[in-house]
Symmetry: C2
Subunit: 277 residues, 2 copies
């Protein structure tokens, strides 16, 4: 197999431009780096357009190369220099997929019957957004909505921080916050805004009902007009002397608290002899 060694070759340039949002939006495609993300992408029909892999990565990940062959996804062998050019990371993992967009319309991400959803209102740091996506997946959330004021879910850092979760659960992107909140309410979800300004604490709020958590900006939280959209504003209690929690940490505590209470509630409804712990 001929190795791509020239960072100016048309194939490499076409992939590299996907590191910029304008080109991602135009091509409706993005880059997913690393064996974990590539493996996940290959499990979904029609998502992976092509792979780039160094010779070393090919020999380290025969399962991925095999899965690509089985689904007819072309694998281009790339030099270390080309890979470094495409991945924008300090220590590239040697394998990268060009993927078609995976997001779904808002109504499909947040349908009637959803029980736990994360709405990102003004989350600007891609690492934070990806971490919240990963945590929402772990907590068994039904979907994550990136509203139009939040970072692009296909940003390379966000994809990396999501650790494959971008491919696991429905993600919607681009809707205004107001529309996302309206959709959540129409789907029967209670909208809880997570904000240090809340008068209700996480220990006090009823978490047994289907819930959409609204998370704001890393530095300044949620502005009053967005807090006003929520059914309730809830703060994570600070038991010590910290001024606040960081966004991804607060989201983890909120999403896991909901998951725990919802599971206890479901459990006690399904099996009345088992008391919730």
């Amino acid at each position: 197999m001929a190795e791509l060694t020239n960072i100016r070759s048309p194939r490499v340039k076409a992939a590299r431009r996907l590191t910029k949002r304008a080109f991602r939006d135009r091509d409706k495609a993005f880059l997913a780096e690393g064996p974990q993300a590539v493996r996940e992408a290959l499990t979904i029909d029609g998502v992976t357009v092509e792979l780039f892999a160094t010779a070393d990565a090919e020999s380290r990940h025969p399962d991925i190369i095999g899965a690509a062959a089985a689904t007819g996804v072309p694998v281009h062998r790339a030099s270390g220099e080309v890979m470094a050019d495409l991945t924008q990371t300090i220590t590239p993992q040697g394998i990268l997929a060009v993927c078609r967009f995976v997001h779904v319309p808002l109504g499909q991400a947040v349908p009637a019957g959803a029980r736990l959803v994360a709405l990102l209102a003004h989350v600007r740091d891609p690492g934070n957004a990806g971490t919240v996506l990963r945590t929402a997946d772990a907590a068994g959330a039904d979907a994550v909505v990136f509203t139009d004021a939040s970072v692009d879910p296909y940003n390379g850092k966000c994809v990396r921080a999501s650790a494959g979760s971008l491919f696991h659960l429905p993600v919607a992107t681009g809707a205004p916050v107001e529309e996302a909140v309206r959709q959540a309410k129409e789907a029967g979800l209670r909208v809880l805004a997570a904000d240090g300004a809340g008068t209700t604490t996480l220990d006090e709020v009823d978490l047994s009902r289907p819930t959409a958590w609204l998370f704001g900006n890393e530095a300044w939280g949620l502005p009053p007009e967005l807090l006003a959209l929520a059914d309730e504003v809830v703060r994570v209690p600070i038991y010590g002397r910290a001024e606040s929690l960081n966004l991804a940490t607060a989201a983890a505590v909120c999403l896991y608290s909901s998951a725990r209470v919802q599971r206890q509630t479901l459990h006690s409804v399904e099996d009345p002899t088992t008391s919730p712990r």
Copy 2:
């Protein structure tokens, strides 16, 4: 006041060398950047050696300059170039303190009667370690122990991520993991290792007792010989399809779960008419 404009001046060089661990250990001092950290440092007697501030930061933070004057801490006005040289951040906040070490001996950080402690076993990323410190503070933990295989708590990125919490609760550093675990057990704490390999989940384990959480490395968790030191190995349940949680997220879920259950337990003991929520 004369402004420091030369990055080669002895005063600036003496401060800058504290960006390196070897010099921090020699001088028993470190740098705390930003108004929040500096404000916290000034609240503790004898911690702050001197401040560096740009003219702009001085006018923006008269409270800090006032507090320094009141406690006899010298303030050196620094040019933007000097500040950028000292802070190593892309957007320096214009104010920086040289502080004396604040850690305490292990036995003082984890005394008999402690109820919630975080032990960092092999946490290597300073941002993660600082975030766990901030979260432990928020969850009302009694102390955080940075063992000898973990990052230096005085690393600039760790201090920044801790958002002032380094000054809020007792921190111990440098003890081997084994010694930290032994101390926790002697202080009457149950040692729970947080690891995806755990057979007990966070929903099942008894969190009402005084607990020391042992957290491992970002990438590879806790090795068998450290898991064996714990009273129990506990995993955060994954309800969705994520492979795992990131370290700071998992720590947040564990520490907040402990805090919630301990508070409910205390509450129900103190007031038997109130049932735990």
